[in-house]
Symmetry: C2
Subunit: 285 residues, 2 copies
């Protein structure tokens, strides 16, 4: 599929308006204290932050801190990091030649109404589970059809292991030999294609280290998503605080020119006090 | 002033709701095509990105790029940078011992209804101009009182010089000796105190390299703001696209544990088609 075609499926600016705020947010303004609550979906970066076993990780190079000869307090540091680690975005170019670099991703891919699919029970049974079309269909039976142009978040439950590398990744070994020992859930490539073709999603994110599950060798889910210029958010935090429906996401990555991804600060804003129950949600088809 | 007191002046979650979306956004939903438009307030990071003369700047360490032996395309990089350069946030601890680190700044300081004060004409005459209380009073005469808990953005017009270091900073020299040659506008410390005490602002940002003007030696504006835990956004882009009123800002920094600041991705969302004129804006007191 030509990435430009999927890009233009999302009308602008209509979806920016409806996706971001929408009637639900307006209705919520007068309705109660949950609506408007902001939830951080981001792990902090520090020396414990989980990166791929082949990466060094996040390094904060502490600089000045204290009162200098000028008489005032001052603190400033430097840091170095891989693009892909901690809570971060994969830009389409990460696995697709000619896909958007991180600075090229249109903001309306990163801002909009969102849903949460909770597959934590299945993933507790099978740490290599790949979220399938049937998982999304089961969600739709309860909560209604996934609205076109949604940001889809997947809660595998692995977020609760952070920052325990062994529990989160399946191994705490480092280096290339550790990659074959990775075990965590991901999104099945068939389900990725279904979300793109049948539900026209804006973006997808989850609480594991990769949108492909741990044992993946060919990264087919990454490749399917990025061929359609759909970005992926990885190592998200805070998904346990989200309802299935009734929130918007704002996911803003560091704007590295030509970058293949990078640290992401993602937040959710609750828009609907009915969120958390199925009350007020349209019935499935 | 005790930072905790200013923090609690901003009621939660009421301001999160009203500040972020608000009645204006709801009214705008049905009204026209400008509302909902997202504007990027962020310069991309690359080797040209402007940092303080004493800093190295942003370095992208290009990694893998191309089709590997596994048969699929893959691209990934690393980078290193100072916390304070390009479009970035100053966390209160940058100049105030015990102030919030960047990961500690509550999200409702970074998300909310905003205003733009355009002082570009004055700054074209005086590149060392410090935006004063009288500049804000002049703005209020035209556009009404700055709402409590606003994010205040200041357009000096210096953003148009980016990335020309000599025009933007007043010097393209590097190193400690260049600091005495800096010339660009900033915010007067008295005006910072007025915005804090009289207008209870959430945050402040501008299109220069520092919230204190170039010739500053004591950084009194930084110190006044950060003593009250009011963060500052520096080197903002895109301010020429903003109206004086009728927009919200979402300013999300990289979440560095213990960081004194860091790269920021900031966006504005237009909320009001009346924006750009004073129509619909309440009269000044």
């Amino acid at each position: 599929m030509d990435p430009s075609s999927i890009r233009h499926r999302i009308a602008r600016p209509a979806f920016s308006i409806l996706g971001f705020a929408g009637v639900a947010l307006c209705a919520a303004l007068a309705s109660g204290e949950q609506a408007g609550r902001i939830i951080d979906l981001t792990h902090a970066f520090d020396s414990e932050t989980i990166f791929w076993p082949t990466e060094e990780g996040f390094v904060l190079e502490k600089g000045t801190e204290g009162v200098g000869e000028q008489g005032y307090y001052y603190a400033a540091n430097r840091f170095r990091t891989a693009e892909h680690g901690g809570t971060h975005i994969d830009a389409p170019i990460h696995f697709h030649a000619g896909g958007w670099t991180v600075d090229e991703i249109p903001l309306d891919r990163l801002v909009g109404a969102a849903i949460l699919v909770d597959v934590s029970e299945i993933c507790a049974e099978d740490p290599d589970h790949r979220v399938s079309v049937s998982d999304f269909e089961a969600w739709e039976k309860q909560h209604g059809r996934i609205p076109s142009a949604s940001i889809v978040l997947i809660r595998t439950g692995f977020g609760r292991f952070w920052p325990d590398r062994k529990a989160y990744l399946g191994t705490d070994e480092r280096g290339a030999s550790a990659v074959a020992k990775l075990h965590f859930p991901g999104l099945h490539p068939d389900a990725a294609r279904w979300l793109i073709d049948e539900r026209q999603i804006r973006a997808v994110g989850l609480d594991t280290a990769s949108i492909d599950h741990g044992p993946s060798k060919q990264f087919e889910t990454h490749r399917a998503l990025f061929a359609a210029n759909v970005p992926a958010f990885e190592n998200l935090a805070g998904l346990d605080e989200l309802p299935p429906v009734g929130f918007s996401v704002v996911a803003l990555p560091i704007k590295i020119r030509g970058g293949s991804g990078g640290p992401l600060r993602a937040i959710a804003i609750l828009t609907d006090d009915a969120a958390g129950s199925s009350a007020g949600v349209s019935a499935p088809d």
